[in-house]
């Protein structure tokens, strides 16, 4: 009789019942086959042991490991299936929202975006951070403009931190409370396959990262965003209502005045850890600009900074900005981060250091483009990457 194949011998180790009686009988008395069987057993044991997970809770059931089966079971004691299901549910819900937004953005004309998107951006606009940036963009603008024309009043050339007490964050005014905010070009964030596509979408070159920090590996994902623009129309009656009459009387000419703000396009390279958390992000965004139809800015600035709800220390910091309309405030919650000034490629830069050192980053403006490097890397690593960008 011919010797059974290596495959049959291998199965004999795991599932003897699956092997024909004649083959089993042959092997029992054939020295050649017994030798091959022993070799197969040895290899299977070695590989089986090598493939054990490092986590003992995923190890095989020992009662089977030495028995007739050389392969393990799928025992996985200690797994939190409920938590894993919750995680999957959250991811799917987020994916669905993103898909709905993309779909609506693709078929609806600008200005008639889906409710979901509008709602998201209304929420973003209500965010105190956006409001402060908006207010700051307006109040730091210096030049008065001729009526009827959109005049540039703000162009970010540098960044500077504004430190805000977390208790004050919730008290900050919402831009929408002082007038009407309308997106002219809503944001459209999407992934692109490569640097060429990112450049085509944004007109920006994807910066080349020299040496990756330790622990940051692989190829980054690429995300692009279009140029976003929004228009704010000041409404004195609405402002008075929002402040319950405690706001100073709006100066003549301010009511109905319009401000237009643009930012982007931009791109981000995202290195992701195995758990899906960004390990490092490198961002380039065309810096925000603000325009006006013509308003005496000193008057507007004084009025806005006098509004109740804008914490005194925030107003003081905003006032301290040079009035040349070129400094973009970066909002930092005082309980989470500290900032320091440094230089990147000869430009002033702000280093943001998270308390506990979990997240660090550096931001600077170069030729009208905001650059940022950050992530779960050290401040030194963020600076090193920033300074090595090509």
């Amino acid at each position: 009789m011919r010797h059974p194949t290596d495959g049959t011998l291998r199965r004999l180790l795991d599932e003897p019942a699956g092997v024909a009686d004649a083959d089993r009988a042959h092997v029992a008395t054939c020295q050649v086959c017994l030798t091959a069987l022993a070799a197969a057993r040895e290899d299977a044991l070695l590989v089986g042991a090598a493939l054990l997970a490092d986590d003992p809770s995923l190890a095989d059931d020992p009662s089977l490991a030495g028995g007739s089966s050389l392969a393990g079971t799928s025992s996985a004691a200690g797994l939190d299936v409920d938590a894993a299901w919750s995680r999957l549910s959250r991811t799917m819900a987020a994916d669905e929202q993103a898909a709905a937004d993309r779909a609506s953005g693709a078929v609806l004309p600008i200005g008639k975006q889906s409710k979901a998107r509008q709602s998201r951006w209304r929420k973003a606009l209500r965010s105190p951070v956006i409001a402060v940036v908006g207010v700051a963009a307006i109040v730091t603008g210096a030049s008065a403009a001729a009526a009827g024309d959109w005049f540039p009043i703000f162009r970010a050339e540098r960044v500077a931190p504004i430190t805000i007490d977390p208790a004050d964050l919730g008290k900050l005014p919402e831009l929408g409370a002082y007038g009407e905010v309308r997106f002219i070009k809503p944001p459209d964030v999407r992934k692109v396959p490569d640097a060429a596509a990112a450049r085509e979408a944004t007109g920006l070159a994807v910066p080349l990262v020299g040496e990756l920090p330790r622990g940051v590996t692989g190829e980054p994902g690429l995300i692009v965003v279009n140029q976003v623009s929004a228009q704010f129309t000041f409404d004195a009656a609405k402002a008075a209502a929002a402040t319950q009459g405690s706001a100073p009387t709006a100066p003549a000419g301010l009511d109905g005045s319009q401000f237009r703000m643009t930012a982007g396009p931009g791109l981000a390279q995202v290195w992701t850890e195995a758990r899906g958390v960004p390990a490092m992000v490198v961002v380039r965004v065309v810096a925000p600009k603000a325009y006006s139809t013509g308003v005496p800015f000193e008057m507007a600035r004084d009025y806005l900074l006098a509004l109740p709800g804008l914490p005194a220390n925030v107003a003081k910091q905003l006032r301290a900005f040079t009035a040349d309309g070129t400094t973009l405030p970066v909002i930092v919650s005082s309980d989470e981060g500290v900032t320091s000034q440094t230089q990147v490629r000869g430009r002033p830069a702000t280093l943001l250091t998270n308390r506990g050192n979990a997240l660090n980053g550096v931001v600077w403006v170069e030729d009208g483009v905001i650059n940022a490097v950050g992530g779960s890397i050290s401040a030194d690593e963020a600076l090193s990457v920033a300074r090595g960008l090509r």
């Binding site: 599932e15 299977a44 997970a53 095989d60 025992s75 299936v81 894993a84 799917m92 590996t217």
Partner: protein, 167 residues
């Protein structure tokens, strides 16, 4: 439940999650990474129309493929996150097979270079799937599962011997 997602997803998830994690852990050696892979696999499955009767096999194969993709593309957990372990530590003693962590690393590296069908068959078998299950999942005859697994084990053994003789 999210729209567009198969209605039996939660039931299948609860039944199959441990096995999917176990399969991925065979490839990656790390529970955390294996759970990440399991999430990817179930996300894809949730939007698929794989018949319920074929779900278990499909999920196991998908877990093995996805984990092997992670292994090949170097999308491994950052070294700083690796558990601090002594390089001399040994794996649990299983039937006299004592394998050092370094050998396990080599076996995983070699696993990524095996023909894909061999690697998947090996991982599924060592994750506890029967020959019939592996055969059905990979569209093989039950008779050829043993041959495929044996070839993979032989190749990995040679890889370990090669390094052992060069040490």
């Amino acid at each position: 439940m999210v729209a567009g997602v198969r209605p039996d997803l939660e039931q299948v998830f609860r039944e199959a999650y441990p096995r999917v994690v176990a399969v991925a852990a065979r490839v990656l050696g790390s529970r955390g990474e294996a759970e990440d892979v399991a999430q990817e696999v179930f996300l894809t499955f949730g939007r698929s129309s794989v018949p319920a009767g074929e779900a278990a096999g499909w999920l196991s194969v998908a877990a093995a493929h996805t984990a092997l993709n992670h292994l090949r593309s170097g999308r491994r957990r950052a070294s700083r996150e690796e558990a601090a372990v002594s390089p001399d530590a040994v794996a649990p003693d299983v039937a006299d097979a004592v394998v050092t962590l370094e050998e396990r690393r080599r076996v995983r590296a070699a696993l990524a270079t095996l023909p894909r069908k061999q690697a998947v068959a090996l991982v599924l078998r060592h994750s506890g799937l029967s020959y019939a299950e592996v055969a059905a999942a990979l569209d093989l005859s039950p008779g050829s599962v043993g041959t495929t697994v044996r070839r993979a084990e032989s190749a990995l053994r040679k890889e370990l011997n090669r390094h052992a003789s060069s040490d």
